[in-house]
């Protein structure tokens, strides 16, 4: 699914997005960072409610395609800055994780 279609389907707020045409496939839901690094495939959508700057480090190292903050959770300032600075794709949706996943075809 293209990033722009994900943003539309989730009615998401874009914190940082480089290439809206980017293709995202697969997904992982979870907040414990070590589980994410163990399980999330590169290029996937990562659904989380974790909003601190460690999210940026993990998203970058794990090479997730887009990080989706659910439940309307706002990223803290450091996460925002890191996402923009590193060109990570980060969006926020008001939907709970389960609803967000259901709204997408990944």
């Amino acid at each position: 699914m293209k990033l722009k279609d994900i943003i539309a389907a989730l009615d998401a707020e874009v914190v940082s997005a480089e290439d809206l045409e980017k293709e995202i496939s697969g997904g992982y839901c979870g907040d414990f960072l070590s589980f994410v690094m163990a399980q999330a495939p590169a290029g996937c959508a990562w659904f989380t409610v974790m909003s601190n700057h460690n999210v940026a480090a993990v998203a970058a190292l794990t090479e997730v395609g887009v990080t989706i903050l659910c439940e309307g959770v706002e990223p803290d300032e450091q996460l925002k800055a890191k996402a923009v600075g590193r060109g990570l794709d980060l969006i926020v949706t008001a939907k709970p994780v389960f609803e967000a996943v259901k709204a997408l075809d990944l």
Binding site: D31, F32, L33, S34, F35, M37, A38, A42, M50, N52, H53, N54, V55, A57, V58, A60, L61, T62, E63, Q78
Partner: protein, 140 residues
């Protein structure tokens, strides 16, 4: 490619700088044109080890040797040490306090991830003296 040696100081209990050494190594490997799958393994394994030094050991030193056939990572700290290494290696074992869990760490999956993403891993630890973790990722 000749061998390359990198060294980093990892500050304890600082979650803003945490991960910068792994990040630097990742950038270097990418620049050298190392296979992306291997780069991702090194980056994740080293980050987990780096974070463990930040959280559990008050910081430490990371040294990385990049060769044509392998990347070797040595993480050395002078923290409290690990009393029971095989217990610490178990999936889900963690002594991380609640404040650390609130940051997303403490699943007890860091050491298992380091094992999973490397070809060799060895922990040397003495209680009251410190811990040294050595990891190797083969490049071919």
């Amino acid at each position: 490619m000749s061998s390359l040696h990198l060294e980093f100081d990892v500050a304890g209990n600082n979650f803003v700088s945490a991960g910068s050494a792994s990040d630097e190594v990742k950038k270097t490997l990418k620049m050298l044109g190392v296979d992306p799958v291997a780069v991702r393994k090194v980056a994740i394994a080293m980050y987990e080890g780096e974070i463990n030094m930040v959280i559990h050991a008050g910081g430490g030193k990371a040294s990385v040797d990049i060769d044509t056939d392998k990347v070797k990572i040595v993480l050395a700290d002078e923290g409290p040490g690990i009393p029971d290494i095989s217990l610490a290696m178990k999936d889900g074992y963690s002594t991380a306090p609640d404040a650390i869990r609130d940051l997303g760490f403490g699943a007890g999956m860091g050491l298992p991830n380091m094992k999973k993403y490397t070809d060799e891993m060895h922990i040397d630890s003495t209680v009251g003296v410190g811990t040294t973790v050595t990891m190797v990722v083969n490049l071919r």
